[in-house]
């Protein structure tokens, strides 16, 4: 242990396979494990979903004119929210795939709910471009299918690459999540005492019996899926960044965009994982499985990706000056550093650049309040980043006629708040009906750590305040 001050373990207390079953399975099998707090949050989520449905209904009735989008800012909140939500999802895949390939076994305790987060975030993200088309009932035109016009999609456009990237990402994440759940469904099938619950889990488990032959092929598949998801997740946000980087709009045409977007996505995603992990482990008494060391390491990843993002901001400023392009330089001085939108740019620098630096201190990485505050600041900062990129560049363009400010409408905020509610509702339902921690992988973790002295004895968890 290089770090003496944070001497928490990955699994604390005297845990056995049975106690893991109990502490995780209880949340699904025992309705009493969920208090009225759970119901209150469900109500919040359902109300948010209602707002979302209402915003969508009004949008379909009236058309996209109810949004603030207009020329020159034809991309507004819808694309800002799309990129933000897609980014949130990336931490789940990073945790489940890339950390698995890097043999970071500690990810076993947090991968399940991060993967769930990925799927729900991508669902929220997908809504925005689909509605942004204005006629969502014609969205199947985005896919290549033989039609009476003899036309095909334009495969040289990054917007079409996005269609393929995001739909592949969603379907592969869903498959990864579902196959990860199968052994846990078998566990719940065998432990459930409720007749209907048992039937439901038996159907979902598909007859899984934990045979060595099953596990052998399962592990092969799991690592292959991880190996396929890792380049997938990197490609998805790279392709999202191509939507901007391939154009010639000032502030968009930057080669640093793909890596900077991917790092930003992981940054925002880990912040969201921390935001959910802290209350969940507290209310459901999972501190022995999601320990302070998990939070500490997640905070370290947040800090590291935050620094990459800061490097991206620095390079943007540098190339806006160094390129010698007067429009790029005017964007920097008149739109970002000063002008009516400058407060958003500086708020972005504070949220993403300055506040996360507190994670250099050990105490800040294990204090739930500082973790929470920084994660919320990062989530806001990443949203602002997309705002800075999209409407601010579109309203400071080559032609004087482009200098027209962008104002979001009530329905822009309604859709955004609505998707936050929808996401909350899905997460709240998920923690009630599915095991939020991967049972079999945590058992595997426990088995691997038994016999390793530093993980099981002689160490006390740090005090939390």
């Amino acid at each position: 242990m290089a770090d003496k001050r944070i001497n928490d373990l990955f699994i604390t207390g005297d845990q056995t396979y049975a106690t893991i079953d109990q502490s995780v399975g209880r949340l699904v099998l025992d309705p009493k494990a969920h208090t009225t707090n759970w119901f209150k949050w469900l109500v919040v989520g359902v109300m948010g979903t209602g707002l979302m449905m209402f915003s969508i209904a009004w949008l379909l009735f009236q058309g996209t004119g109810i949004w603030g989008n207009n020329v020159p800012a034809a991309w507004g909140f819808d694309i800002v929210n799309f990129v933000w939500w897609i980014g949130i999802g990336h931490a789940g895949t990073l945790i489940s795939a890339i950390l698995l390939l890097l043999r970071q076994q500690w990810r076993n305790s947090i991968n399940r709910f991060s993967e769930a987060m990925t799927i729900f975030a991508v669902m929220c993200a997908g809504l925005f471009p689909l509605l942004h088309t204005g006629r969502p009932w014609n969205d199947f035109w985005l896919f290549p299918y033989p039609n009476i016009l003899g036309m095909w999609p334009q495969f040289r456009s990054p917007l079409l690459w996005d269609v393929f990237a995001v739909s592949t990402y969603f379907s592969v994440s869903l498959v990864f999540w579902f196959v990860g759940l199968i052994p846990d469904f078998a566990n719940l099938r065998d432990r459930s005492t409720n007749k209907y619950g048992k039937l439901a889990f038996a159907l979902l488990a598909l007859g899984w019996r934990g045979s060595n032959q099953h596990w052998h092929r399962y592990e092969q598949m799991y690592y292959l899926l991880a190996g396929l998801s890792a380049p997938l997740v990197l490609s998805v946000h790279s392709i999202v960044s191509f939507d901007f980087a391939i154009s010639i709009v000032p502030g968009w045409n930057v080669t640093v965009f793909p890596p900077y977007f991917v790092a930003g996505a992981v940054f925002a995603g880990f912040a969201m994982v921390i935001i959910w992990a802290i209350p969940l482990r507290k209310y459901y008494k999972l501190e022995h499985l999601i320990t302070n060391r998990h939070l500490d390491w997640m905070a370290k990843i947040t800090l590291a990706t935050g620094l990459i993002v800061c490097y991206g901001y620095f390079l943007e400023v540098f190339f806006q000056w160094y390129s010698g392009n007067p429009y790029e330089f005017r964007l920097l001085t008149n739109t970002r550093f000063s002008g009516m939108y400058a407060k958003f740019y500086w708020a972005l620098i504070v949220c993403n650049g300055i506040i996360p630096q507190i994670f250099w201190w050990n105490k800040a990485r294990t204090n739930v309040w500082s973790l929470m505050i920084v994660s919320i600041a990062v989530s806001i900062g990443m949203w602002l980043e997309r705002f800075v990129i999209i409407p601010m560049s579109l309203t400071s363009n080559y032609l004087p006629s482009s200098n027209k400010p962008y104002y979001p409408s009530f329905w822009d905020f309604g859709m955004f708040a609505g998707t936050l509610g929808f996401f909350t509702m899905l997460m709240i339902l998920f923690i009630r009906f599915l095991p939020m921690i991967n049972i079999f992988e945590v058992k595997d973790l426990l088995y691997k750590f038994q016999g390793k002295k530093e993980y099981v004895e002689g160490q006390l968890p740090v005090e939390m305040n």
Binding site: P153, Y218, L228, S229, D444, Y447
Partner: protein, 183 residues
């Protein structure tokens, strides 16, 4: 290993229940050395080295993924080639009809889509899942195979099936209980 369900009566296997993965690995290895072939082990989580101990080797899933990945990239690229070069050639910004760099992202996503789905579907097909009924579920205490116990089943169809030898072997490796299970 295909199970013959045509005669659903009779003895399926002799099953030993163990408490640790180490016991399971050692008993599987000894059973293999003793000449038993038709057997399988059951555990709540994957145990590394168990396949080697029991003598099970299978590389069908990786090969399937490889082949479907190749299929994905071929289909993904040829779809773009057919639509943009052959069926409806259109000049976009002076780019060549076959714009290789612009066609890579979609071909890449198709590769991953095909490979990932073939991995999951291949795992199900080769494992013969979904399979709602299996005789091993009749084994005593088997509901704990997904919780905290480790089982080894030597099937009655094994050419060397010998109940006394199996029981002795399992007991000597610390089996909590050895029982038989029927179809």
């Amino acid at each position: 290993m295909a199970h013959d369900f045509s005669d659903p009566i009779g003895l399926y296997a002799m099953v030993g229940e163990f408490t640790t993965p180490e016991q399971l690995k050692s008993v599987a290895e000894e059973a293999r050395h003793a000449g038993f072939k038709v057997m399988d082990a059951y555990s709540p989580f994957p145990i590394h080295g168990l396949s080697e101990a029991i003598g099970f080797r299978d590389t069908k899933v990786p090969w399937t993924v490889f082949i479907f990945g190749l299929l994905g990239v071929t289909l993904g690229y040829s779809m773009q080639f057919y639509t943009s070069v052959i069926d409806y050639p259109m000049n976009v910004g002076g780019k060549p009809m076959n714009s290789i760099p612009a066609f890579i992202p979609v071909a890449y996503e198709c590769t991953i889509l095909f490979a990932a789905f073939s991995a999951a579907i291949g795992m199900f097909v080769y494992n013969r899942l979904p399979m709602p009924y299996h005789p091993i579920f009749n084994a005593k205490n088997f509901e704990r195979a997904s919780q905290d116990r480790f089982f080894l089943a030597v099937e009655a169809s094994d050419p060397n099936y010998d109940p006394e030898a199996i029981e002795k072997l399992m007991k000597s490796n610390g089996a909590l209980e050895v029982s038989t299970c029927d179809y």
